[in-house]
């Protein structure tokens, strides 16, 4: 059991975490955050393994990983 928490206000929608995810369960959202960026969001949270590749790749330290 693992989960990630995305700080949507820190996210700048650079999309670097999307190809980093081996399960392909991170996608762009359709809404905006306060800065005007589309933050990323996780789909199918039950598939997350907590590998932390998304968090390692994130240039804005916007992702926390729990396991």
């Amino acid at each position: 059991m693992a989960k990630i928490v995305i700080d949507e206000e820190r996210c700048k929608g650079c999309e670097l975490c999307i190809p980093a995810c081996p399960k392909n369960i991170i996608v762009m959202s359709e809404y905006f955050n306060k800065k005007g960026y589309h933050p990323v969001k996780q789909i199918k949270p039950e598939e997350c393994t907590g590998c932390a590749f998304c968090a390692i790749t994130c240039p804005d330290v916007a992702i926390e990983v729990f396991k």
Partner: protein
Amino acid sequence: MKKVFGSPKSLTKVPFTYCPGCHHGIAHRLIAEVLDEFGVREKTVGVCPVGCSVFAYVFFDCDMICAAHGRAPAVATGMKRAKPDSIIFTYQGDGDLASIGTAEIVHTANRGENITVIFINNAIYGMTGGQMAPTTLIGQVTQTSPYGRDPKTMGYPIKVAEMLSTLKGVAYISRVALSKPAYILKAKKAIRKAFQSQIEGKGFSLVEILSTCPTNWGLSPIEANKWLEENMIPYYPLGEFKTPEEVS
């Protein structure tokens, strides 16, 4: 559930002001994680450069000082000599370290000052709007090389890691990249070794980090990562150029 990954203590909670996809944030986080792991945050002083990362003093939760353009190694030398027990690192870009600060970095390395230099090489001047840097690749189009860098009039890209590794005072030099998770993990190892060699008093250490500047390269962050791997890594090979035997 236990938190297995989060913001390191050596970073403040202030959101980074860098452009989306800029690798400065990753480099900042790796340095902060290493400071946390060694438990040296309270006695660390960082020197920020002139460039986009001039704001590093806002993001690092340790003592920071801002040096004049290119002079970070000189300021670091003074601080290390005045307080030899402190951990001193400089964080410099290619315009700062390889252009205006060439004299300072070469002589600081040659004197074997016991400091750690984090050198961000993104092959362009970021903050000033994308001008040609000494590390700009041959043929690369920038604001000041609109027809591509021509070595006949503009010289060749400087390989800082190789150049400095010939100096005797240098203890540890390596080049890493931040374009994919595997590289990022290796980059952290290299930064760890650099700080370790300073803590053990081995001498000058430098980590050259190949990073992207999506805004000034005119690419999306994902395309910029690809461009880095296809163009920069062949010219700037990754790896360690000098290691003291005891640091491994």
